[in-house]
């Protein structure tokens, strides 16, 4: 989902570590290496992912000034998916099975053979399926090490964290109430163990919500 246009839904992370000296050249190479390529004509994969320019999802060529606006490094994760409707797959499998049974003069078809036909049919249909495109923006504030990523779906966030690690060789730690509070308390020199004493309190009773 876009962070720059319309309303934004996003997860937050802390980037563990800092970019190396002269990181822009290295990052430009790595971003290009993991840029979005799409499906080639022979591919029967159902998912293709990679980086694109945050301002233009059709642009996967990376000039430094396109992704680096100090102190931010910004990119979009483009995810294209192809899907074959199950009813269409079923119909095409039945047709293929019928054709083979007639051609080979068979009375019976084994389960294994049906499975092979299904795989082959799915692969053929996937090549013809129109991909659906989604993009998820990422804005990394290099100065504060805070990163926002335009998705709240766990599958997309996991995919993003994995690609981020491959590209930048840095791990991401997701922010959530406990980690946010621990970060704030550490900054103030307060022992973060105290957060573990917080327990749900009973609105109707006398419990105070501490152990």
């Amino acid at each position: 989902m876009g962070l720059l246009r319309g309303s934004a839904s996003f997860s937050r992370y802390i980037v563990n570590g800092t970019p190396p000296e002269g990181y822009l050249d290295e990052y430009a190479q790595n971003i290009t290496r993991y840029s979005f390529r799409g499906f080639d004509e022979y591919s029967d994969e159902d998912r293709s992912t990679g980086w694109v320019n945050i301002m233009n999802i059709f642009d996967a060529s990376f000039d430094q000034k396109l992704f680096h606006i100090y102190p931010y490094l910004s990119l979009s994760l483009r995810v294209d998916t192809r899907k074959v409707p199950s009813s269409a797959l079923k119909q095409h499998c039945l047709e293929a099975e019928h054709r083979i049974m007639v051609t080979e003069n068979l009375d019976y078809m084994s389960k294994e053979r049906r499975r092979e036909i299904k795989e082959m049919t799915l692969s053929q249909l996937l090549k013809r399926a129109i991909p659906r495109t989604n993009t998820y923006d990422m804005i990394w504030n290099i100065k504060s090490s805070v990163l926002i990523f335009g998705s709240v779906s766990s599958r997309t966030c996991d995919e993003f964290a994995e690609l981020f690690l491959k590209t930048f060789d840095l791990n991401l730690s997701p922010l959530f109430p406990y980690s946010l509070a621990a970060m704030g308390l550490s900054r103030e020199g307060i022992n973060t163990d105290r957060l573990d004493s917080i327990r749900p309190f009973d609105i109707n009773g006398d419990s105070d919500g501490h152990t």
């Binding site: 962070l3 309303s7 934004a8 922010l175 406990y178 946010l180 917080i198 609105i203």
Partner: protein, 178 residues
């Protein structure tokens, strides 16, 4: 413990925060003093969802009903706020609308004030302005969240804040103090 387990186990922090926000938005007019001379008004604006840990049961209430009677009953029935729609106004001029959840405190459907810079004419200016607005909303909410954490861990929680909060929930039908 992995992250998912940790978020689940500590979700009460996010749930208490959303409840405290609602309490403060009604009893203190939702006004929070932020560092650097900023002030923020935070109001529950739209729907809140309450759930229990034990059973899959949720109640969604709309603030179209000013007392949100059903939500208060749900709180007394041990349900807690897991999602809330929020309106944040910074320095009485910049309005942000979004939803927060208790487990991740992710911002959802964040609407910022309109960006003045033109995306086509000045993409860099547009980027700085829009990113600045998002960061502003996040910074203010983080600051209010830390106010809550300090109170939640202080002796004041037990002696004054929690009793006042319980009183506010139980006496929903009484007029609010001026």
């Amino acid at each position: 413990m992995d992250i998912l387990e940790k978020t689940e186990k500590t979700e009460t922090i996010g749930k208490d925060f959303l409840l405290w926000l609602w309490f403060k938005s009604e009893t203190r007019g939702g006004i929070f003093e932020i560092d650097d001379g900023l002030s923020a008004e935070i109001l529950i604006d739209g729907k809140i969802t309450l759930e229990t840990d034990e059973i899959q049961d949720s109640v969604t209430c709309s603030c179209a009903n000013p007392l949100m009677k059903e939500a208060r009953f749900a709180l007394m029935g041990n349900k807690r706020i897991t999602k809330a729609a929020i309106k944040l106004t910074i320095n009485e001029e910049d309005e942000f609308f979004f939803r927060l959840d208790s487990r991740w405190m992710n911002f959802r459907l964040l609407k910022t004030p309109k960006v003045i810079q033109d995306l086509k004419g000045d993409p860099e200016g547009f980027f700085y302005e829009k990113t600045g607005l998002i960061e502003r909303a996040v910074t203010v909410m983080d600051s209010v969240f830390m106010d809550f954490i300090r109170i939640r861990l202080s002796p004041d929680w037990e002696s004054s804040e929690l009793p006042a909060l319980k009183e506010w929930i139980r006496n929903w039908n009484r007029p609010l103090p001026a």
